[in-house]
């Protein structure tokens, strides 16, 4: 819920979605560099030099990882493994908007199956 800068993942650091394209990552990286560069007005009066250095290092690290598709895939998998909660998948659901998914047929009990056999062959 509450994280230190050190604990933020690369997507949070660059303020991009996990599905961000390479162009979006590049733009976010440039914006982050402009925000935390030496003499930036955006951090004036709030962020110390040490903190600025730390976040710049992490931003570089984030960009180096996310711009390389293989590294990014490995990183995403690592993020998923560390995720604390996965919403359970629902096997069947009613239709939502244009998506039509039918309900599963009701499961027959053993007694119902036997009755069915006898009803077919009297």
């Amino acid at each position: 819920m509450i994280k230190r800068i050190e604990d933020w993942n690369y997507y949070e650091l660059l303020s991009v979605e996990r599905t961000a394209s390479q162009d979006e990552i590049w733009e976010a990286y440039q914006a982050a560099l402009a925000t935390y560069r030496d003499g930036s007005l955006a951090v004036y009066g709030l962020v110390t030099e040490d903190e600025r250095g730390l976040i710049l290092e992490r931003i570089q690290e984030a960009f180096q990882t996310l711009r390389d598709p293989k590294k990014r895939r490995d990183y995403d998998l690592a993020l998923l493994r560390h995720a604390a909660y996965f919403p359970p998948k629902v096997p069947f659901r009613k239709s939502v908007g244009k998506l039509e998914i039918e309900d599963a047929p009701p499961k027959r009990t053993r007694w119902a199956r036997i009755k069915r056999i006898f009803s077919r062959n009297p």
Binding site: M1, I2, K3, R4, I5, W8, S15, A31, A32, A34, T35, S40, L41, A42, V43, Y44, G45, L46, V47, T48, E51, I55
Partner: protein
């Protein structure tokens, strides 16, 4: 449409709070939405001058001294259709130091004005009165300019708002002993807010969660005024990003209002800039922002507990 109380505030003087408030009011009124502008800059009121309206009675002082019973009666017509104004009082010495009960009365009356849009033009600084007016409104808009002094004071203003929100919740839940702990930690460095919440979560998770949710419910907007180039425009985005990361608040960057020499000329002529230069880039920016806010569903009336008053 639900009722909106818009508050325009900021940490530094001269950033253009009154200009933004007046322009927003004029724009909303031009869309046939009834608007009341309230000059809540208790120490140095001058919103009426930006609209080309002369100071006269009734004004906010008349309401606060009980000369008139309701704030509605202090709202006078302006030359612009759909726009009324509650002018600031010339009796500054009395008004600038409002006591707690008068402040609560004013806050209650602001909620009772029968107009869908009430715009508060707040004064500079972090006095409790200013902070409470800012926190009782939604959306709360912070106006800054691309200068180190303005940025520094913007962060100070936001920090003061955060501490005020947390203090109000601490008082409400009778956990005032946490207040000194918060003050001790938050003064240390920019990551201290994180440190405060971390230690609080470890010692008392329930209160930690309540206070963290209160903090996340504080969602101010930022306007960067008097921008001269693309770098200034991007600075606003950076400030909002830094506030999100270091102050843990969900700050929205509304956009930039370009610097325009004509603002000065309009002010000298006692004419509203927004109406005189409707096609200027600054007026367009104001229009875009107000549309974004007016139609946004994320802003509803939401106030901290102690300044949420029962409707009488």
């Amino acid at each position: 449409m639900d009722k909106r109380i818009w508050a325009i505030g900021g940490g530094k003087g001269g950033t253009g709070k009154s200009f933004v408030a007046a322009s927003l009011g004029l724009h909303l009124a031009s869309l046939d939405r009834d608007v009341v502008l309230v000059d809540a800059d208790l120490g140095a009121p001058n919103l009426h001058t930006l609209l080309g309206v002369k100071a006269s009675h009734p004004d906010l002082g008349d309401f606060l001294t009980n000369a008139i019973p309701t704030l509605e009666e202090a709202a006078v017509e302006t030359p612009y259709r759909g726009l009324r104004i509650v002018k600031g009082s010339e009796n500054i010495l009395f008004i600038a130091n409002l006591n707690h009960y008068k402040k609560l009365r004013l806050l209650r009356q602001l909620r009772q004005i029968k107009t869908p849009n009430v715009i508060l033009d707040l004064g500079t600084g972090s006095s409790f009165n200013t902070l409470d007016f800012f926190l009782s409104a939604n959306p709360g808009i912070v106006v800054a300019t691309p200068e180190p002094t303005a940025i520094e004071n913007t962060y100070l203003f936001l920090k003061s708002c955060i501490m005020r929100v947390l203090k109000l919740y601490m008082d409400h839940y009778k956990i005032q002993d946490l207040h000194q702990r918060m003050l001790d930690q938050i003064e240390k460095n920019s990551q201290s807010l994180y440190g405060f919440f971390k230690s609080l979560m470890e010692s008392d998770r329930a209160y930690g969660t309540i206070l963290y949710r209160a903090l996340r419910a504080f969602r101010p907007c930022l306007v960067m005024n008097k921008t001269r180039d693309e770098r200034d425009v991007l600075l606003g985005r950076s400030v909002a990003d830094v506030a999100r990361k270091y102050l843990l608040i969900d700050m929205k960057y509304l956009g930039a209002v370009p610097y325009d020499d004509d603002v000065h000329e309009s002010l000298r002529g006692l004419r509203p800039f927004y109406l005189e230069h409707k096609d200027s880039a600054a007026a367009r920016a104001i229009r875009q922002m107000s549309e974004e806010l007016a139609y946004s569903i994320e802003f509803t009336l939401r106030t901290p507990p102690e300044i949420r008053l029962p409707d009488v």
